[in-house]
């Protein structure tokens, strides 16, 4: 996978992490307006990043990514492969 794809994956993983952390926090603090606003902003960022990945590098979300012909979901590398992962 090329550098652009890896950089985008790095941003996607970071945004996922912010969403995970804010959502778990909001589950036990549902009245925190500030955290909720941050969470919603990260959702918008996530959508933009996922669309950009989908347009340039193929499918990333099983139920949201579009596929060109032929069906791209079966394309590797899968997340558990060395080549699919970026350097920290």
């Amino acid at each position: 996978m090329n550098n652009d794809a890896m950089n985008l994956k790095r941003e996607i993983a970071g945004t996922h992490m912010m969403l995970e952390e804010l959502q778990l926090y909001l589950n036990t603090h549902p009245n925190d307006r500030n955290a909720l606003a941050k969470r919603n902003a990260f959702v918008k960022q996530m959508n933009i990043l996922n669309d950009e990945y989908n347009k340039n590098f193929g499918m990333i979300n099983q139920d949201a990514s579009l596929s060109t012909y032929p069906w791209q979901w079966i394309d590797g590398p899968w997340p558990w492969e060395y080549e699919a992962n970026f350097e920290i």
Partner: protein, 205 residues
Amino acid sequence: MWSYDKILQYPIKIKTPNPGLATKIISQYGGPDGELAASLRYLSQRFSMVTPEAIATLNDIGTEELAHLEMIGTMVHQLMKNATVEEIESSGAGAYYTDHGRGVYPQAASGTPFTAAFLQVKGDPIVDLTEDLAAEQKARGTYEWLINQTDDPDVLEPLKFLREREVVHYQRFGEALRKVQDYLQEPRLFIMPKPDFLRSNELNR
């Protein structure tokens, strides 16, 4: 239901095979305090949980544990993949290789296959959340014993990430437990609510 994202929660990129270490890390895949037990525990306990906060907490942490299970499987896969049979034998992974080759099988480091006996669902909100707090601490402890057994930064960084997630989950379960205690109107008692058969005895007296 679930939808799959084709990306790990945290990247795993291990350059140097280490089959001996793989057969220790496998414990967080299918061992007593591993991610499979954690996920099944929370996703099963949520059906009988009370309060919106605690139900969502079990649902979402149970889901995150599946992403951790995938990370652990990835570490075992990459640590085994390019190892020679000689390396496997000399590193002490020969027993695992005999049964599973370079595959990823849910078992403890000691070889015990995964069993649902590693977890409990009591159907009592305080009992279940108390188990969950202990489970997160036991998993944190396991990650620390694993961290003590390697100096490979490619392995250390994801192990440190997973250890930190246990700390966050412990915090969230603690908050959920307090909500449940408030809901059950026994906010100062860190014990089980009195069961119905004891309450009726009081009334009969």
